[in-house]
């Protein structure tokens, strides 16, 4: 799950990472109040889970509390559209009002997990405020990395190496290395999967500050990172995905196509989408039902799929391992009987208890399109969707 910028900055502040002075506001009045507390010119930033907020009109400068009020009034309530959000955009319910800072230099700093090394890696670059992937692709020599060995943690020499490599020397060395160490600590203690400061700025008066901050928390660590998950802003997520999560279905991703998919296993679910595309169709969602051996979860999932107005056909593709095909079949039958999936429904069952699964479908007398193999199932679904 992602934190908002203001949440990430509050977290960083607790670890001693300097950030611009400021506060979150949920109304224009409140924004004006923050601006007058701060005194001087401010920046008003939309709080939404996307990059490229400035280009989308979600970041405005204000030189007075009155201007801050107007900026906040423009931003709060908008649907912020950026290159990352898709055409529908994301709702904005709050703004971060911060002092404007005099920037001398912009750098990049982040901590992510290096899957191959099996440990976190700290990435720094003097090319800040840019798309770091672009920097890595075009000028890889401007990217510097240090791995964080879990047995000893992030060391001082590593922070110094990154600081010197990015020109954070002289009087900047101490604050820069302290900031890096603090960022790594925040990453580790919060089960983070991404902690990014872009840009990390050096101000004209010689301070090092996190001008922007992005933080993601490992979804698997929800049981021990309760405060973060309790503060999760579900308005930034697709409403159908939230509904699916609330029904106990973790792995549902809404897509733009017209064939609803219910599959067991993430790999097979992705491959089912691929097969649909290969046959000339387009999937309406990714859904891994997992190993739930309970028809209720299947019914809940099919209800969400069936309610998607784009869906013209439903494809159930199950290869039972831990998941039992007969239980899935029961769920399909119930969902059909209840009218949750009025669309033509293709069912392909294989694996554990497949005979029992087939029997459940046979005995139901319900009109289903039955497929034997993978390709056949995808083809039938594409045809049924028209």
């Amino acid at each position: 799950m992602k934190l908002h910028e203001y949440q990430a900055k509050a977290l960083l502040t607790r670890y001693g990472v300097p950030v611009p002075r400021g506060r979150v506001a949920t109304t224009a009045e409140d924004a004006a109040a923050v601006a007058s507390e701060l005194g001087g010119p401010v920046v008003v930033k939309a709080q939404a889970h996307t990059g490229g907020r400035g280009k989308g009109g979600g970041v405005k400068l204000a030189s007075s509390p009155a201007e801050a009020r107007q900026a906040a009034a423009d931003i709060i309530g908008m649907q912020l559209v950026t290159h990352q959000t898709g055409p529908q955009g994301l709702p904005v319910h709050s703004v971060l009002v911060e002092e404007q800072i005099e920037i001398a230099r912009e750098l990049y700093l982040s901590v992510i997990i290096d899957n191959s090394a099996g440990m976190p890696v700290v990435i720094a670059s003097a090319a800040g405020g840019m798309d770091i992937e672009e920097v890595a692709a075009t000028t890889p020599e401007r990217i510097f990395q240090q791995r964080v060995d879990p047995t000893v943690g992030f060391q001082g020499y590593q922070a110094r190496a990154l600081a010197f490599a990015t020109g954070l020397d002289g009087d900047l060395l101490r604050p820069a290395t302290a900031l890096m160490s603090a960022l790594v600590r925040a990453f580790e203690e919060n089960d983070s999967s991404l902690a990014e400061i872009n840009p990390l700025v050096v101000t004209t008066d010689g301070r090092v500050l996190a001008a922007d901050a992005k933080f993601s928390i490992d979804d698997n660590a929800d049981y021990r990172q309760r405060p973060h998950f309790d503060a999760r802003d579900r308005s930034q997520e697709d409403a159908r995905e939230v509904e699916a999560n609330d029904a106990g279905i973790e792995n549902y991703v809404k897509l733009d196509g017209n064939i609803g998919c219910l599959v067991n296993g993430a790999g097979l679910a992705m491959a089912t989408m691929d097969a649909i595309m290969f046959e000339g169709g387009s999937p309406a969602n990714f859904l891994d039902i997992g190993t739930q051996n309970n028809p209720d979860a299947v019914v809940a999932a099919l209800r969400i799929i069936g309610a998607d107005p784009n869906v013209r056909a439903v494809l159930v593709n199950i290869f039972g391992g831990l998941a039992r095909t007969d239980v899935i079949a029961e769920g399909v039958v119930i969902a059909k009987r209840e009218g949750y999936i009025p669309q033509p429904t293709v069912v392909r069952l294989a694996g554990t208890n497949v005979e029992a699964g087939m029997k459940v479908l046979d005995d139901s007398g319900i009109d289903l399109l039955r497929a034997d193999g993978f390709a056949e199932a995808a083809r039938m679904a594409v045809q049924a969707a028209g």
């Binding site: 899957n115 976190p120 089960d191 999967s193």
Partner: protein
């Protein structure tokens, strides 16, 4: 022979709850020697006719267990892997899904100096149909003894690929589910090495997916392999930035796309299945080309 499991495998199951007990039964029925279970506090009991111990050390001492299959829930799974390793288990296979990445960072680092090979987590396990040795959750009916090794990040896609092979009359020397998490014990590259060095394996199916760079690392190794490789990458239609079920299946950069991975594997000399329904057929063509079928 075969990889990781063989006729001498004596399987221990950590976490004899409902899933552990059920898979103990399925593996016993298949013909695997399931010699012990471990559930702290239930030592002295028998489940599915298998003696249960309080600790892995006790189970190893009493039964000579030399492989462990782990079903312990996510919050305790890292602890279970470390217990297996500390008790000298050479092969630990972790089925558990949802282990926090931070826990796996510690486990991975700890295992670096140990003699334990970890498979998974978040994987379907390992099977050797030649030796009737099964340490996992896979349906056994789809398997047929033979000489093709199968490696996959996904569980259900292993079953799918194996089913396609068997329907074409192509048997398997084994399958290894390496797991869908960002940090796993054995990489696709290492699994390829195991099959390359296995005299019973003639060719390998590699099933990757979006996210990370493990397929590119596997491709580097494929250039050195003598045995032919057929590959499929799942997730060509997945949108970037979204986690597709598996914690590791998220496109964070260009290298993480299905396109980039397919290209790397193709350049390394692997045959690429463009659709998931063509995995078996792609291997069949490859075997014919090489005069292996």
């Amino acid at each position: 022979m075969g990889v990781l499991l063989n006729e001498n495998t004596r399987l221990l199951i950590q976490g004899m709850g409902a899933a552990g007990a059920r898979e103990a039964r399925n593996s016993l029925d298949y013909g695997t020697k399931v010699v012990a279970g471990v559930t702290p506090g239930r030592g002295g009991q028998e489940i599915e006719g298998v003696p249960v111990f309080n600790t892995v050390r006790q189970a190893v001492d009493a039964t000579g267990a030399n492989a462990s299959l782990i079903f312990v829930p996510a919050a305790g799974a890292a602890d279970a892997i470390l217990e297996a390793s500390d008790s000298g288990i050479p092969v630990a296979i972790c089925i558990t899904e949802g282990i926090p990445v931070k826990d796996m960072v510690a486990v991975k680092r700890y295992l670096r100096g140990s003699t334990t090979r970890l498979i998974g987590p978040n994987c379907p396990g390992v099977i050797n149909p030649m030796a009737l040795a099964r340490a996992g959750i896979m349906p056994v009916d789809v398997y047929m003894p033979g000489s093709v090794g199968v490696i996959s990040r996904s569980g259900t896609l292993v079953y799918e690929a194996v089913d396609q092979l068997t329907r074409l009359g192509i048997g398997q020397s084994g399958s290894v589910g390496v797991g869908g998490d960002p940090i796993i014990g054995t990489s696709q590259r290492e699994a390829l090495e195991l099959f390359e060095n296995d005299p019973d394996t003639a060719a390998v199916v590699l099933i990757g997916e979006i996210g990370g760079t493990a397929e590119q690392e596997a491709a580097e190794y494929i250039t050195q392999m003598k045995k032919p490789v057929a590959a499929f990458i799942a997730g060509a239609t997945a949108p970037p930035g979204r986690r597709m079920g598996h914690a590791g299946a998220i496109i964070a950069g260009k290298a993480g796309t299905a396109e980039a991975k397919k290209l790397a594997l193709l350049q390394a000399g692997a045959a690429i299945a463009q659709s998931p329904s063509q995995i078996g057929a792609t291997m069949q063509t490859l075997l014919k080309e090489r005069g292996l079928l």
